[in-house]
């Protein structure tokens, strides 16, 4: 047995044919242990980590991240006995895929008669039967296996050449074998203009749904299916024809990024972060009675403090922004008003007040809104807080925020100012009792020491859960946050 073993992509979920390599967790030359996660693969069903089948050293990675790989193709080679010294010259990759432990039919016995699933042999669209367009009808739990069936040759039956067979397209192979009736694929119907005048259009519900989604008018199609019914292929062909005359960019203007169909509407599936955001927002908005208060504050002194901090040696190599001071203001104000940092626990009939502050920062990422939090932020020094905030946002933007960073938040800040707006009425993350929106800082005419001066001014918006926080407490809290931002050094001296 060869020292080098190739691991082939397994069928990860009952009948899948391919997977996309999301990320390699190891590189060539790495020493790995048995069952160590080596690669993340996404299939039609799930994104999963694959653990190493053997311990050893990675000698080759066959497909980079981002490539789609067929089930059964080698993805990584592992030297399973690296301590045995350098590889002998005659020990290349094994001839048979090592991951396949089933009986390997010999080339002769496997005369690889490929049989295309003959359309029409089974009622198209029946569960488990072949469906037009190479799809397999799926109920639940079993993936679309659309491979061509391999049959062993009967003794004495003339067969196609074994070497040529695997590369032969299914249609040609089945044509070469008289025993199997070759059913010609239905020709895609031309997108006919005349709307048929008589009778309802025959089409199965999933095809109707597809047509609706793609903006195709079924009545305008001549069906190629049984009894003249419109098939999935007909709809796809018509949709392709619709999309073909793409509007040229006018006067060098970039075309609109959204792809609109004939109805001039775009349908975006509600899923992922968007779906979770929606669920959380609805749950929060209709569970916690929200109150929002606003405060406009002169933050000129804060901005000056920030400048001084930037030039101080302790903060030389860390990026700091007004968000840092807002975070500090919130942490100090929570110390003075701990009830703001609490949870309404309906099942136990309790309000859970927390001594620790897991400070959430709303971050807009490519995947959507996420709110990772800095754990126990109240215990951090200002520099540690600055580093934690920077790290949080960077990780969020890269889309790699671990679930633990997104759970357990106790108070959140949303920095809508970066988008150039003054403030908003934020919605509470579920389980939290208050959230602060922090608007843009603008030079504004302001009464300062009895005179109108141009000062740096911002508006804060605080939403709180009125079940726990009354107007008085919410106002005092917001007032304290504002007071710190108006005069951070003075507030610090007064409060500590």
């Amino acid at each position: 047995m060869s020292r080098i073993k190739e691991f082939t992509l397994p069928d990860l979920g009952e009948g899948l044919t391919e997977g996309e390599i999301l990320a390699w967790l190891v590189k060539v030359g790495d020493t790995i242990e048995l069952n160590q996660p080596i690669v993340e693969v996404e299939t039609a069903k799930a994104a999963v980590e694959i653990p190493a089948k053997w311990a050893g050293v990675v000698t080759r990675i066959f497909h980079e991240a981002g490539s789609t790989v067929e089930v059964g193709a080698p993805i990584v080679a592992i030297d399973t006995d690296p301590s045995a010294g350098p590889l002998p010259a005659g020990d290349p990759a094994p001839s048979a895929p090592a991951g396949f432990d089933g009986p390997v039919p010999s080339a002769e016995s496997l005369a690889a008669v490929q049989v295309a699933p003959a359309e029409g042999a089974v009622e198209p669209g029946l569960i488990g039967g072949p469906a037009p367009g190479g799809r397999t009808a799926v109920l639940v739990g079993y993936g679309p296996r659309t491979v061509t069936a391999k049959r062993r040759a009967r003794i004495g039956t003339p067969t196609a050449s074994p070497t040529a067979a695997p590369a032969t397209p299914p249609a040609a192979a089945s044509a070469a074998l008289t025993a199997v009736p070759a059913v010609p694929a239905p020709a895609p119907a031309p997108p006919a203009d005349p709307v048929r005048a008589t009778g309802p259009v025959l089409a199965k519900p999933p095809v109707r749904k597809l047509a609706k989604d793609l903006g195709v008018d079924l009545r305008a199609l001549a069906g190629s299916g049984p009894l003249g019914s419109v098939t999935r292929e007909d709809v796809h062909a018509a949709a392709a024809a619709l999309a073909a005359p793409a509007p040229a960019a006018v006067n060098g203007r970039a075309p609109a990024p959204a792809v609109f169909d004939a109805s001039r509407e775009q349908r975006i599936p509600i899923k992922g972060v968007r779906k979770l955001t929606a669920e959380n927002m609805v749950a929060s908005a209709f569970t916690a009675p929200h109150v929002t208060e606003f405060l406009t504050v002169d933050v000129t002194r804060s901005m000056k403090s920030l400048e001084r901090l930037k030039s101080s040696p302790e903060f030389r190599d860390v990026r700091i922004s007004p968000l840092l001071l807002v975070a500090k203001a919130v942490l100090l104000a929570i110390k003075r008003h701990p009830m703001v940092n609490s949870t309404w626990s309906g099942p136990t009939n309790e309000i859970v007040v927390k001594e620790y502050v897991n400070l959430g920062i709303a971050a807009a990422t490519e995947r959507g809104l996420i709110v990772p939090n800095v754990k126990d932020a109240g215990r951090l020094s200002l520099r540690e807080l600055a580093e934690a905030l920077n790290g949080l946002v960077q990780v969020a933007k890269s889309g790699k925020t671990p679930p633990s960073d997104m759970s357990g938040g106790t108070f959140s800040i949303t920095n809508v100012g970066v988008f150039g707006v003054d403030t908003g009425t934020p919605i509470l993350p579920p389980g939290e009792s208050a959230i602060l929106a922090f608007g843009a800082i603008r030079p504004t005419p302001w009464v300062h020491k009895g005179k109108i001066k141009v000062r740096q001014v911002t508006t804060l918006g605080l939403s709180f859960d009125h079940r726990i926080v009354d107007g008085e407490l919410g106002s005092k809290f917001l007032r304290d946050v504002g007071r710190f931002l108006e005069d951070p050094e003075g507030a610090l001296l007064a409060w500590t």
Binding site: L12, K45, S109, T343
Partner: protein, 379 residues
């Protein structure tokens, strides 16, 4: 978001549950329910350690099985991750004469019945039917169809009564396992009806892991599942399914009631499936991360470990030895799974009738000839 979980039952769902070991590893002496039933356990030090060993072992074997599936060596795997306490606690509560009817996820119960853990792997690898002798181990075959085993169990339990094997401490009892999703099935409700009116010696053990594949509990029921028993006329108890002690205490009491002829009990073990329904689905598409995180804090193994440590019943040497022996078992399991032979097509005809039949023999011959008609035929 319960934070003060050192309080007994602080992590309980509305309406409470029976808990004898908190997530922090604090022992609760006894719990008395609203119906006035008191539950407790009295284990020796060795028994506590034995339960810990069981929990760690079944989790480690399950982890190996998940890895084998990801490596293409099993077609599918239904992981028990998170439900170890519900399975080990109820499995250890069985007496030797009791009969268990599992679903396809009861690898932990199977282990406590003394069955070689390799036994179900033929099924998941697709090389045989994964059979063992249900009579020898008093553990029925895995049932894939959701809920149907509750009727088999009910029929078996009615048979126990007809055979006159109930009515004393040596009586027989039956336990039927199923999940929260199965409670929506007709079979399970029929089983409740029949068991109730025939006073069958059966314990319905529902592992409420909160999801029927992707469907959350609130889409299955308007009331807590254990309260369904009211409508069928027998007691229903909810337990902390992540607490091996409460699971043992309540299951043992319910089985003993059954064997004494007191009829059925429904136990709802409130727990959480930490992994996917099976290796073929992606739980991140239907559960939020913070929910999973909150259940990590209720892990069945870490709470028993905390208890053993605090009570000085075990030290690092013990914990390391348990991990090491579980690992050895898992690696042995891996070797044996990889060595499982592929089935010969002709074995299709085996085990059709216990004593064979001329028709099946003829079909076997015919099929063997057909197989031999292929080129390069090895079998």
């Amino acid at each position: 978001m319960a934070n003060d979980e050192s309080q007994p039952g602080a992590d309980a769902p509305a309406g409470g549950f029976v808990q004898l070991l908190t997530p922090d590893g604090e022992r609760v002496d006894s719990v008395t329910t609203a119906e006035g039933v008191t539950y407790s356990v009295d284990f020796t030090d060795d028994e506590y350690r034995g339960l810990y060993r069981d929990l760690v072992t079944v989790r480690r074997l399950d982890t190996e099985a998940t890895a084998l599936q990801r490596q293409g060596e099993l077609g599918i795997w239904a992981s028990l991750l998170g439900q170890e306490a519900a399975q080990v606690g109820s499995g250890r509560a069985l007496r030797p004469q009791d009969m268990a009817f599992p679903t396809y996820r009861e690898h932990g119960v199977l282990y406590t019945r003394g069955i070689d853990p390799i036994m179900p792997f033929g099924l998941f690898r697709g090389v045989d039917q994964g059979g063992w002798d249900p009579n020898e181990f008093k553990f029925n075959l895995y049932t894939i169809v959701i809920g149907s085993q509750t009727l088999h169990a009910t029929g078996y339990a009615m048979g126990v009564t007809m055979d006159g094997k109930t009515g004393g401490p040596d009586g027989e009892a039956v336990i039927a396992y199923f999940g929260d999703g199965a409670t929506s099935q007709g079979e399970v409700n029929e089983a409740f009806v029949w068991s109730g009116v025939f006073n069958a010696p059966i314990v319905f053990f529902c592992q409420n892991n909160q999801y029927a594949i992707s469907e959350p509990l609130e889409r299955q029921t308007r009331i807590p599942l254990h309260r369904r028993a009211d409508g069928y006329g027998f007691p229903g108890v909810r337990i902390d399914g992540n607490d091996v002690l409460a699971t043992y205490a309540v299951t043992r009491a319910a089985l003993d009631n059954a064997r004494h002829g007191q009829g059925p009990t429904l136990i709802e073990a409130y727990t959480y499936r930490m992994g996917a329904h099976t290796s073929s689905d992606d739980p991140t598409r239907y559960r939020i991360a913070s929910e999973v995180e909150s259940w990590k804090a209720k892990d069945p193994i870490s709470r028993l470990k905390a208890f053993l440590t605090k009570q000085q019943l075990a030290d690092d040497t013990f914990f390391t030895e348990v991990d090491e022996s579980a690992r050895t078992l898992a690696l042995d399991l891996r070797e044996r799974v990889l060595a499982m032979p592929d089935p010969q097509p002709v074995t299709l005809f085996d085990n059709v009738y216990p004593t064979g039949s001329p028709e099946v023999d003829a079909q076997r011959r015919q099929f063997a000839e057909y197989q031999a008609s292929f080129e390069g035929s090895a079998h």
